[in-house]
Symmetry: C2
Subunit: 317 residues, 2 copies
Amino acid sequence: MLQKDRQAAFDFARYIDERRARLEASLESFLPPAEPLKLYEAMRYSVLSGGKRLRAVLAMASAEAVQADESLEGEDPVELVLPLCCAIEMVHAMSLIHDDLPCLDNDDLRRGKPTNHKVFGEAMALLAGDGLLMMASEVLLSRTSKKVSPQALLDVALELCRATGPSGMVGGQVLDMEFTGAAGSGTVDEAVVSAIHKSKTGALIRFSLWSGGRLLGASAKQLESLSRLGEIVGLAFQITDDLLDITGSAESLGKTPGKDQASNKATWISVFGEDGARKKLKEMEAEGIQLIKDSSLDNPVSPTLTSLLQYSINREK
Amino acid sequence: MLQKDRQAAFDFARYIDERRARLEASLESFLPPAEPLKLYEAMRYSVLSGGKRLRAVLAMASAEAVQADESLEGEDPVELVLPLCCAIEMVHAMSLIHDDLPCLDNDDLRRGKPTNHKVFGEAMALLAGDGLLMMASEVLLSRTSKKVSPQALLDVALELCRATGPSGMVGGQVLDMEFTGAAGSGTVDEAVVSAIHKSKTGALIRFSLWSGGRLLGASAKQLESLSRLGEIVGLAFQITDDLLDITGSAESLGKTPGKDQASNKATWISVFGEDGARKKLKEMEAEGIQLIKDSSLDNPVSPTLTSLLQYSINREK
């Protein structure tokens, strides 16, 4: 079989469905209903409402891509990172809940359903977000197999905080807010948009790829490649998001499109236009594919990381 | 010297001032201004605004009270727990920021200053709280001395999440909210008020006493005593808070008094009245003193834990 045919034979749809199903089952088992019931209901509403689960699947794929610690030989890499993947999705869900609140984006619709505060009220949505932020680290720290090295777990727990906190996702939300309304005013340039993207969405996506490898004991060289790939996927994902905001429909997106332009958000498109964004995406795709090849991260029979990179660009929601 | 005179000779005011000064210096060094500047300004505004620092000092005192791991011999126990203490105070500051938001308590005044959202706006206050929650664990995980055992650090990081999350502080805020307005309606009894207190304030105070010991490698027996003492101090602290709400002035409290009764909050007083609350406080104090004595947690020359228990009851703010 030629390389091209081998790749074509890889059933990506089946791969991602199977990974998502394992993630959903773990989320359900790590976040069962409990007291206070209403709080858990609100947390579960957002965490268990589907979504692409791209971040979690990236962490699984990177765990499968690396050479694991000897002590983990014979273990299923996906099983080992399931608590990590749940933690990542909880943090992501939390960011959407707080982002949708009236004092920030004031969104009514998310994944085709009313946003958390529309169902549970602002106070409960606020607290559900806070709760998920803590549950994420709790699940990572309490549910990760004792076979994983304590130092690897400590490193991953620390980087999760960094990716999520003021120098990562939360910092990005602040930048996003500060520059909303400024697009077209001359203050928004590539440096500004890059800084927003790198922290707001990029940090958690980069963490997803890095952490799957780190937890399993990947080499420094592999971690460096995964980290750089994470930056590429993160930026490509966000530029695609910006494009979908102008080309997608509420039905396919599950949220209100056209909001970026209406609020003069600092997006890649606001600086480089639609064509500039599409050109950048092609460059990112090529760079990512080359990196995966150079670092031998993909198994030729099942090029999962390449497929995930392309999925993050070619998706329609 | 008689036991009584020895105790009188212990200069508690000087002790707590010195501990607070070390904490403030660490907070300043672990949370310097950074980008995004406005976010850090908002986080620093609430974290560095003083306060009693009871939780941090409790963690220091418990670290000093226990027999540390051999590997930590010769180390200063207070120095070893400073990152932990900063984490605790960051979590506490975060809970006040979110609690004061319009969708929750809608408070304008905290520690005699305008609340965070009054100064920085609701969105920034929301994100400053989120940022502090992550910074807390980040500081704990990245700044704790490498001499501390990785397993002790993992245990403490996990329990911080539990004390803070849905089964702790955040869960308590939900219960508090759900039962606000219900006092006097017959649905609020001792079980309800205990559950609120135990989670909303009790969990973090209990964690403070437990974690100072755990980080230094205290024995299971000592940890059990510290944990129970934490429950006692936590409940005593909250009942005192409830009493101060009816007896204190805005000037001494630095916040608006009388709000509990005005909003029919589920407090100890709403169930047992002022006399019942004072009686319970006396019982808690006696139980705590006995426990400290039975567990030999206090040095007779400097009875720090006894003094902190009494301080949490006799304080005027």
